[in-house]
Subunit: 208 residues, 2 copies
Amino acid sequence: MTEANEAFVLHEDPFSGNCYKIRLTAALVGVPLERRFYDITKGETRTPEFLSKVNANGRIPVLEMGDRFLPESGAACWYLAHGSALIPTDRFEQADMLRWMFFEQYNHEPNVATLRFWLGKLGAENLSDQQTAQLSAKRAAGDAALRLMDEHLATRDWFVGNGITLADIVLYAYTHVCEPGGFQLADYPHIQRWIARVAAVPGYVPMD
Amino acid sequence: MTEANEAFVLHEDPFSGNCYKIRLTAALVGVPLERRFYDITKGETRTPEFLSKVNANGRIPVLEMGDRFLPESGAACWYLAHGSALIPTDRFEQADMLRWMFFEQYNHEPNVATLRFWLGKLGAENLSDQQTAQLSAKRAAGDAALRLMDEHLATRDWFVGNGITLADIVLYAYTHVCEPGGFQLADYPHIQRWIARVAAVPGYVPMD
């Protein structure tokens, strides 16, 4: 899957589902990762050194290999999964997998992950007025994303094709820990069964 | 590039930069698209027929081919550009291209495109209190995205490698029309030169 002796460092925060996506992908393709930890609530990804060397966007995860740095979780998963069954070779299925990965970053993560961070980590009492004003819109948009997933899974075991792909991995990351954000998995029975399916894949590793 | 006789229908709104990305990609690879128009401000992508047949997510663009429908602009661009020079074959460059495409959907579009829609189409006087409360945060985040692009382009002609790729196409779509959203291209000289570079590519088509 990866070039011989290629070594990877994952710059990450263990609380982050975006970082976990990369760990899960690496585990499923059998690639070891060295882990380097940052606490985003302490600004550790906004230091001058981080911005100049690791990621000018001030965000994690970043996958480091040799002298190169690859930000964006979906891109890092794509790199690691190269040549594996986690990326379908069929032209439509490959594009359809990316469709779910873009959906995750646009419709799912800004709502499901953000509410988990705001309510499950920062705490409702510590939110700014502007954050509090966005809670109901993010709740509705997050539930809409989960409902769309649940309907899709009503007739399918996996998001694309007949096995696990990167689409499942990236959607799994924040979905399976959505409840601290106030979402109820009991509302989504097909998602619940799919979560069990993902966790049963050989090589699976849990979130920390 | 595409299979013989494969016919495409683009479900789109000509005002949308996400739709334009697909038109520009198709033009650069020489694939004709039939266009079908919707006005999102009139709810035309939320009708029961649209939701059941075209996209359960109620959004455009959607690329239709045969009996299949592909939502998400980045996924449609990926499908159309298959096998062309718009997608690098080098493993790192391909992942790095996707990195910019995810960056566009996460950091750029929700700020640069949304302010264009809110201020340039709906009008500041027609925004809800909740939208008005988000203006300054979206202005700052949009300028941060443009600044990151400008710094990246200070030493490069294209986002990835030595020629135009999907990364340039998707970032170009909303960047070159950012000014109705209140952003100033004069603040970003490297972006300005890159915009001229994109518009000079053989086969280029402008936004409607």
